[in-house]
Each structure stands twice: as C-alpha cells, then as structure tokens.
Amino acid sequence: MLLIHCPYCEEDRPEVEFVYGGEAHIARPLDPATLSDEEWEHYLYIRRNPRGRHHERWRHTHGCGRFFNAVRDTVSDRFEQTYKAGEPRK
C-alpha cells in the first residue's frame, strides 16, 4: 500500500485515509465579479496537468482531517514531499 506522509500527524499513513484534492496553489480571485469569462474559465477549469512533478492538494480525511500540499511525480506516482497548507510552493 502507498504510504503518504501527513505533515500535521508527522507520520506515514496508508493512502486509503486520504482524499485527492486537485492541483495546489490555485488562489481564488479576490474579486470574481471583475473577471472576464475567459479569466473565470481559466480559474475554474484550466489545469497544468504536467507529466512529472505535480503540486497537488490532499486531505487526510480519515485522520486529522486537514488539507495539505504534496509534490508527486505523475509518472512514477512517487511522493517527493508533503507540506502544510499555507506554506510556499516547494
């Protein structure tokens, strides 16, 4: 089973306790009403979808309940590192 390091629990925990939360570091526009349709579409739907190193959100749903960020290789499925939400991109 894949083990994921939770930065809050500070433990390697089984993958089934976690839920994937999409690409990380996508900030919600501060004033959505001023956005054009294209900008809004970009915010909602356009993702990098890289082959390789990917920054993504995970939630330790069946554990501490917290969202955190992870860097995972989309080819090997290997987690490079995980870090707390709010910390700068690694």
Partner: protein, 176 residues
Amino acid sequence: MSDVLAIPALAVAGTDLALEAQAVTASGVALTLEAPASRWSLRARTAQALSGVIGRAVPARIGETLDGIACLGPDEWLADLPAGTALPDGAGQPVSVVDISARGVVIRVEGAGAATVLSSGCPLDLDRFAVGRATRTVFETVEVILWRESATVFRVFVWRSFAPWLWHALKAAERG
C-alpha cells in the same frame, strides 16, 4: 443529559441492530460493547485555549491521549469521560464543545490477537501504534477512531449506524 445517554444503550442492545452486548470470544480475542459514556467533540485553535475553557489538561500533539482526552487533529480533540460528566460549553469563546455521547458506540477488542483481528480491516501499522495513542482511521471503508489502551486492548469508536456491520466484521475476523 440522561436522555441523551440512554439512546445508545437502548438502540444498540435492541434486536433491530442485532448487536449482542455481551462479550464474544473465539481464538482468544474478546469483543465487548462498552457502556455509554459522556463523549465530546472539542475544537479550538490551540490546546491552551481549549484547556482554559474546559478546565482540564489536553494533549498538544496529534495522536496523544491524556486523562480520557485524545488529540485527533491540529484543532480537534475527543473527550471520552465517565457517563454524566459535564463540560463548560465555552459560550462566547472561540471554541466548540459538542456533546456526541449519542453519536457512536465503542467496541472493545481485547486479547493477545487483538492487533491481528483489527489488521484484517485496518491499514494502520499497529506494531508502531503505541499504547496510549489514539487516531482516526478506517476499518475497511468505515471510519473509526482507534484508541490503544494497552498492548492487548484496543477501543474502536464507531458511528452508531456502522456499528452492527463493524461488530460482525470483527467477529468474522476473529474466527479467522
């Protein structure tokens, strides 16, 4: 309070849930349904803030337990206290103190093979789950809170509607 505490005993021992309240023993592992207790979900930004409101010491690190209170997350604690215990509600303060006595039940798994029985459905590495630790995790697809009381005693907190299934799954596991 007494009304709330009466609910688990009635419903869980009832035939509709098909849960036997007595211990089941096979292969040296005993399953027991624990008596209702006073349980609380506690939320606060820091352990100190919570401690100040409820007037009890609370563990600061996730996974630790202290006098019936377990730290489940960076801002979440579970209190498992003797039936009838009341806690201050912290009105007006940035904390949440919620009585969840009727939310779930506790199944006690006891015996030399307790960890083996739980491992049939729980993906945690129980060899590294030290005595006195508690955490939320899963058993198969059911969310549970696991509390290790001693080397051979685990307490499994589970929501009421999942309890009959979990009980039978554990019974099946202990029969091998």
